[in-house]
Symmetry: C2
Subunit: 294 residues, 2 copies
């Protein structure tokens, strides 16, 4: 399959839907809505929402009814970037190739824009999904809240801050990433499967697929931070090293880190084996994540 | 009725439920959970959750099934205080009689504790409510998200920041407060009515009651900031004046501000006229809010 045109199509679909679902910058409070839109609509891979859509298709469902939930995922991801970039956190100036939200606006506006995007995510996630089994919306809100909260993404960010500037081993690094980035990526795959009407076995496989590509994504991100350049990444590179942050290449060496990402990709593809042809985008996405480091 | 013992009983009920529903500080990430619990369980009037319970009782429902949603309201309120107190926002050191979250922990932890409490609110709000009409949970999550988000509380905070250190008239001040504090107080009353099984007319009356006491609460808060002392308030007073913030006493004078709060309290009591005896706590609460300034 042609992954590039698939990704472009899905990204445009997600961005058009976000544009429609997020209040316009003309609506008061204009500064808040402008900041939300600046960060949300200013580029990005849209990996998480695309995973929701692709997982729905993988179990034979349609992508369209899953769009509001997919957009909720992107709102959560974007809010987490805005808050992570704040001076009190990672203190980054560049994100998705542009000034970070607090640089473009100010710190207070960035804090509030993040808060509003997190809240908006639940407003979008609660929208009734045509054709979905009753009760699925409530289950997905629980899934989203748990993946995003103190037992998931926010917890991972706390673990990451706790680990700063002290020695971290591979087990601890893995634990940070399972929470910080893994929880939301896994939830995207599970949610897509549920919205697409997948059975329990398919949902379990999608969960394990999500866990595998989540870690592979983080390892390749660490590798890119080490060897990539800022123009391609859209954010400052070498920043992990500057902050003495533990990374996979630092702890394992570049070669073994690449091998681990390959192993995880193979595992992810293995979980998809029982799936029909509709899972082709998910398979291509797993390979794509790996290919970023080559 | 004896409001003091009613408030004590309900506050203890809310606090015991919060203590049970929020992860223990021993569970990793321990620092995050400790910060969440520090701010959430460190005192407070518990006005919003008590309004949920009292509104459920006012329409003849039970308070107990409304407890998780009531706690969700308190999570939202507490997160907003943590973020509002941050150096980039109101920069306050004292809250509920103790050091603010970022003073007790640090800024990054406070940002994350707020994020986690906001997320937890939706995890609690989605819990199935025994005996409630189907669909009510989804409606209440929409209500909560809209009251807390850019069209409600967060939007009000943005309007408040926009208005800092410039002249604000009464219409603008009212608009700030309708969003910043009013939206959540109104939502608490509506949600309680819905959880208690109220009919459409009762819900409409509770909404107008909530709007009236929300404004009366803000006016009396402004009066207390002007005339109260820090020991009673549990936060620094005179801070509005120090920041040249517009307040009701500043714009109307103390006497007219008190009269306006009295007028709103009478209106609130008027909306409750058709309600049975179960609405007595709501009536007492409206009078209590007013009495704080005498």
């Amino acid at each position: 399959m042609d992954l590039t045109s698939y990704l472009t199509r899905q990204r445009e679909l997600v961005e058009a839907t976000l544009d429609r679902l997020v209040p316009p910058a003309t609506k008061p409070p204009a500064r808040l809505h402008a900041a939300m839109r600046y960060s949300l609509l200013g580029g990005g891979k849209r990996l998480r929402p695309i995973l929701v859509l692709a997982a729905a298709e993988a179990v034979g469902g349609a992508a369209d009814p899953a769009l509001p939930f997919a957009c909720a995922m992107e709102c959560i991801h974007t809010y987490s970037l805005i808050h992570d970039d704040l001076p009190a956190m990672d203190d980054d100036d560049l994100r998705r190739g542009r000034a970070t939200c607090h640089k473009q606006f100010d710190e207070a506006t960035a804090i509030l824009a993040g808060d509003a995007l997190l809240t908006l995510a639940f407003e979008l996630a609660v929208r009734p999904v045509e054709g979905a089994r009753p009760g699925v919306t409530l289950e997905l809100i629980t899934l989203l809240a748990q993946a995003a909260g103190s037992a998931g993404m926010v917890g991972g960010q706390m673990l990451d801050l706790d680990a700063e500037e002290r020695a971290v081993d591979l087990v601890e690094l893995q634990n940070i990433h399972i929470h910080k980035t893994g929880a939301l990526i896994r939830a995207a795959c599970v949610a897509g499967g549920q919205l697409g009407g997948g059975d329990a076995e398919q949902i379990r496989a999608l969960k394990r697929y999500g866990e595998a590509i989540g870690l592979s994504f983080q390892i390749t991100d660490d590798i890119l931070d080490e060897v990539g350049d800022a123009r391609v990444m859209g954010k400052n590179t070498g920043s992990d090293r500057k902050k003495s942050k533990a990374t996979y290449p630092f702890l394992m060496g570049l070669t073994r880190a690449r091998e681990e990402a390959e192993r995880l990709t193979e595992a992810a593809l293995g979980f998809l084996e029982p799936f029909p042809a509709g899972a082709e985008p998910l398979r291509a996405l797993a390979r794509f994540i790996l290919s970023r480091t080559h």
